[in-house]
């Protein structure tokens, strides 16, 4: 019998019986624990940054003292001024579009449940406002917003959504839905990481939507691919006697295409689920994972176009506008014939389409270019206006 076997023998001791008498200790919900971890993580990063900044200042101050001993006074004074620049909050994102009501709370307000507060800028949030680490955006019952992260990705908030900007490549989605369009130049910036109560979503160069409920998550990928790393079981006492967690630790896979069901009582070692183009994956409250094919256009994506960041058309040729509209709508596009292509090639756009949805912009711009359009399924066909 090995030492481990001996240890596994039933321990009929007062200690063991006391433990049995006590039963399992109460546990916080996995969803709430995940949100708490995200909040604590943000505070920790702030502390570490502050400490590093202070250390840097100490090092610079030490260097300044050395220089003071070695260099002419005027040069030293100049150097010392440079050594201690005032701390400046780093801009992580810029608002591109706002559909009221949108509330923005700045960093430092918080830990608990991250309340949205009065505008931090002294005026209602508007396009052009910058966001720093810890900023929380809350779109309320009917608001929407779009912002661009400094890593190049654009992010849109649907109604009833609350999201926090943690870093240039990291967001925390507390509730609601966001749509992400990442920079296609993959060498440009690190992949976006989106934290939710149900797991972490990582973008692999793509357009996708994540909708987080109280205890479930839905990911829909329009283009490219994303990865969902489902939450590990909340590490605490055993989960026997507790309901299965929303992280899939006891989940099953409906279609056999995702993570395998873990062994009873074991550890789910395969928590990563990939979601590819035109796919939807849902992880329900009991960890049940389902996967289905979805269209890349249509009503389910309508909210995304309604808060599209403005597209500047002044001095732009027609093709980039058609690219933009098609990307926003999930369409492809082509000219109806060679004559249309030749004519469109001569068009230079002027003016502005700010405030128009992509579809409205198309309706507004094409007639001014003697062009028209029709839809064939998900294909936009542009042709000469013969009226």
């Amino acid at each position: 019998m090995s030492a481990s076997d001996q240890f596994d023998q039933p321990p009929e001791t007062p200690i063991a019986e006391l433990l049995r008498l006590a039963g399992h200790r109460p546990q916080p919900s996995p969803q709430r624990a995940a949100l708490a971890l995200a909040a604590i993580d943000a505070e920790w990063r702030h502390t570490v940054r502050r400490r590093r900044r202070r250390r840097s200042l100490w090092r610079l101050a030490t260097a300044a003292i050395v220089l003071l001993l070695l260099a002419p006074t005027a040069w030293i004074a100049r150097r010392a001024r440079r050594a201690a620049p005032p701390p400046v909050s780093q801009t992580l994102a810029t608002l591109l579009a706002v559909s009221p009501p949108l509330r923005v709370a700045t960093a430092g307000t918080g830990a608990r449940a991250i309340p949205a507060q009065a505008p931090a800028h002294g005026h209602p949030p508007r396009a052009g406002d910058t966001l720093t680490a810890g900023a929380v955006l809350d779109s309320g019952a009917s608001g929407r917003a779009a912002f661009r992260l400094t890593n190049g990705a654009t992010v849109r908030l649907d109604e009833q959504t609350r999201v926090r900007v943690d870093a240039a490549s990291r967001l925390t989605l507390e509730r609601g839905a966001i749509y992400v369009e990442s920079d296609s130049r993959r060498d440009a910036a690190p992949a976006l990481e989106l934290r939710t109560a149900q797991g972490v979503v990582r973008d692999i160069g793509t357009q996708f939507e994540v909708r987080a409920g109280d205890d479930d998550i839905r990911i829909r990928v329009r283009e490219g691919e994303v990865e969902l790393e489902r939450r590990a079981p909340v590490p605490a006492s055993g989960d026997a006697g507790r309901p299965p967690t929303a992280d899939g630790s006891r989940g099953t896979v409906a279609d056999g295409g995702g993570a395998p069901a873990p062994e009873a009582g074991g550890v789910d070692r395969d928590r990563v689920v990939r979601v590819t183009q035109a796919e939807e994956v849902r992880v329900g409250a009991r960890g049940l994972l389902s996967r289905r094919i979805i269209p890349r256009h249509g009503a389910d994506w309508a909210w995304v176009a309604s808060i599209a960041p403005p597209f500047p058309i002044e001095g732009v040729r027609l093709a980039p506008l058609l690219d933009w509209v098609s990307r926003e709508q999930g369409w492809s596009w082509r000219y109806a014939d060679a004559a249309t292509a030749r004519h469109a090639g001569t068009v230079i756009l002027h003016g502005s389409i700010d405030g128009l949805t992509p579809s409205q912009a198309l309706d507004a711009v094409l007639p001014t270019c003697d062009l028209s359009h029709r839809l064939d399924g998900a294909q936009l066909i542009v042709h000469l206006d013969t009226r």
Binding site: A3, S4, F7, D8, P11, P14, I15, A16, E17, L18, L19, R20, L21, A22, G23, H24, R25, P26, Q27, P28, S29, R32, A33, L35, A36, L37, A39, I40, D41, E43, W44, H46, T47, V48, R51, R52, G110, A111, R112, A113, V234, P235, A236, S237, G238, A240, G265, G266, V267
Partner: protein, 212 residues
């Protein structure tokens, strides 16, 4: 315990140096325990306990550099948690003094120790079974991080050492060692609070609805 303090000091150093794994370790070792610490003091209000635990740990993160290592990290965090609880109770217009528990009040502690002379049957008669259970649960939370979890996995969930080792990300040998230390620590803490509990076997629980 000096070993705990050393471990806590190392953990805080790693946290301040920006070690991501240390953050997870801190969270794993603290959140549920602080949650239960709060829960017992706010009339079992689960939502509020979760909020308080989160606020406490956020506060701890902000003030991490002020921890001097004189008491264990958990004791320090509990001090912060008490303030959060007080603030919550004031917000709820409740008595800010809150509920006094075994680890808060030496008199209650002495009263429990007095059970020694009466034995387990008397203890059952004198103290509600659930109060005793709650006491044992709180004692588990005052053990070093993961000891309580390991004991629950072993004696409540009947997990083999191999599985416990996997959950703790340890070798089987290290898990055995941790279990041995956890049992010893638990026995010590029980002895210090109610000595008879560590040496006398409790009466088997009676099935409900069956007369003795």
């Amino acid at each position: 315990m000096p070993g705990d303090l050393d471990r806590d000091r190392a953990l805080v150093r790693q946290l301040l140096d920006g070690d991501e794994a240390a953050l997870q370790q801190f969270f794993d070792g603290m959140f549920a325990r602080v949650y239960r610490f709060a829960l017992a003091r706010i009339d079992q209000r689960e939502d509020a306990a979760e909020d308080i635990a989160q606020a406490t740990l956020c506060h701890a993160m902000r003030r991490l550099e002020t921890w001097r290592g004189e008491a264990t990290l958990f004791t320090w965090v509990c001090t912060l948690c008490r303030r959060e609880i007080q603030a919550w109770r004031l917000g709820q217009q409740l008595d800010a003094g809150g509920i006094t528990l075994i680890e808060d009040d030496p008199e209650i502690r002495a009263a429990l120790e007095s059970l020694h002379d009466r034995g387990w049957q008397a203890a059952e008669a004198a103290v509600e079974r659930r109060e005793l259970a709650a006491l044992v649960q709180r004692l588990l939370d005052h053990l070093p991080a993961r000891y309580g979890d390991a004991l629950e996995w072993k004696y409540l969930d009947d997990l083999p050492v191999r599985d416990i080792a996997a959950r703790l990300d340890l070798s089987e040998k290290a898990a055995e060692s941790l279990l041995t230390r956890a049992r010893a620590a638990f026995r010590d803490v029980v002895r210090s609070v109610a000595p008879h509990l560590a040496s006398t076997r409790p009466a088997a629980p009676r099935p409900s609805g069956v007369l003795p």
